[in-house]
Amino acid sequence: MHSFFAMGGYAAYVWVSYAVFIVVLAIDAWAARAQRLRQLAQVRGRARRSAARSGSTP
């Protein structure tokens, strides 16, 4: 088990590579989701404001 984590002396290079791969792709998926939720929230806000202007609350 120890030798597995040591990666033949290249542990720092190998593990950092895999970590960058996983972290960057995870951020990508999170950012895509956050962008969609932000757009939806904006649409909701606009709908609420226009409803308030016309006098009826949804």
């Binding site: 033949g8 290079y13 791969f21 998926a29 962008q35 606009r46 949804p58």
Partner: protein, 257 residues
């Protein structure tokens, strides 16, 4: 209108595409995650160590699929950009712009992992050789497309301007791909070949191919996710978007999807 054109038009309509994307996206992410984990296990544990490079070669299991995806994403973006510019199809504008951030992410990982492999193997983090320089240029092209898209107020004009830049950047794709043949570079040539036998042992090839499939699926999951956001932004005033937005506000504060 025959059946084929009917479905073509139907698919191109934002509400229909949004529905299909919503259904497909979790499958893309899910299968990518499963295949990716099996591939990582294969690459880190099952595959034997290289007789020359020891365990450092294991970096290729993330480096090579990401490098392929950097090029694939650009190609996908350019094809959609072309359709968007010629036929002015809204969906293709959205798809082209959705693939830029994912492509940039993959290219960034390629550069970082390549650097991490280069230090122990070549003795340097970076060198200005043809493959490395053209790959860096690919990342800057992605940044250019994303930057231009965000710099223009009108979304459709922005998408068309950025699509145009994306199309110009296509000249860089063959340069990246063939740079190892055209110039005398430090970077090694292709090991895995589509035509003819690959110069890699089967025990190292299967994790690599599995991760290649996984990254493709992840790319499509991410593109669909961003395309959904893009369609909402573009169709913000339309009824289908308002219905969607208000339907999701019903379960208050529970924060589902």
């Amino acid at each position: 209108m025959n059946t084929l054109t009917y479905w073509f038009h139907k698919l191109g309509s934002p509400p229909t595409f949004y529905r299909i994307a919503t259904a497909l996206q979790p499958w893309c992410y899910g299968v990518a995650l499963v295949l990716g984990l099996i591939g990582l296990y294969g690459g880190l544990v099952v595959a034997p160590k290289d007789y020359q490079q020891g365990d450092a070669y294991r970096i290729i299991f993330v480096h090579v699929p990401c490098a392929w995806m950097g090029l694939f994403a650009y190609l996908f973006m350019a094809v959609n950009a072309f359709i968007a510019l010629v036929w002015r199809i809204k969906l293709n504008e959205v798809l082209a712009m959705a693939s830029a951030p994912v492509g940039a992410a993959f290219t960034f990982v390629t550069l970082v992992t390549g650097s991490l492999w280069g230090k122990p193997m070549w003795g340097t983090w970076w060198t200005w050789d043809a493959r490395l320089t053209s790959e860096l240029f690919l990342l800057f092209l992605y940044f250019g497309v994303i930057g231009l898209y965000n710099a223009i107020e009108d979304r459709r004009q922005a998408a068309r301007a950025a699509s145009f830049l994306a199309l110009i950047g296509v000249v860089n794709l063959p340069i990246v791909h063939f740079s190892v043949n055209w110039w005398n570079t430090l970077h090694q040539g292709s090991t895995v070949r589509l035509f003819g036998p690959s110069r890699i042992d089967a025990s190292m090839l299967w994790p690599l191919l599995l991760l290649a499939i996984a990254t493709h699926l992840w790319f499509f999951g991410s593109v669909l996710a961003r395309a959904r956001g893009g369609l909402i932004e573009l169709d913000a005033g339309k009824d289908w978007v308002r219905t969607l937005a208000l339907a999701q506000s019903k379960p208050t504060a529970s924060g589902v999807t």
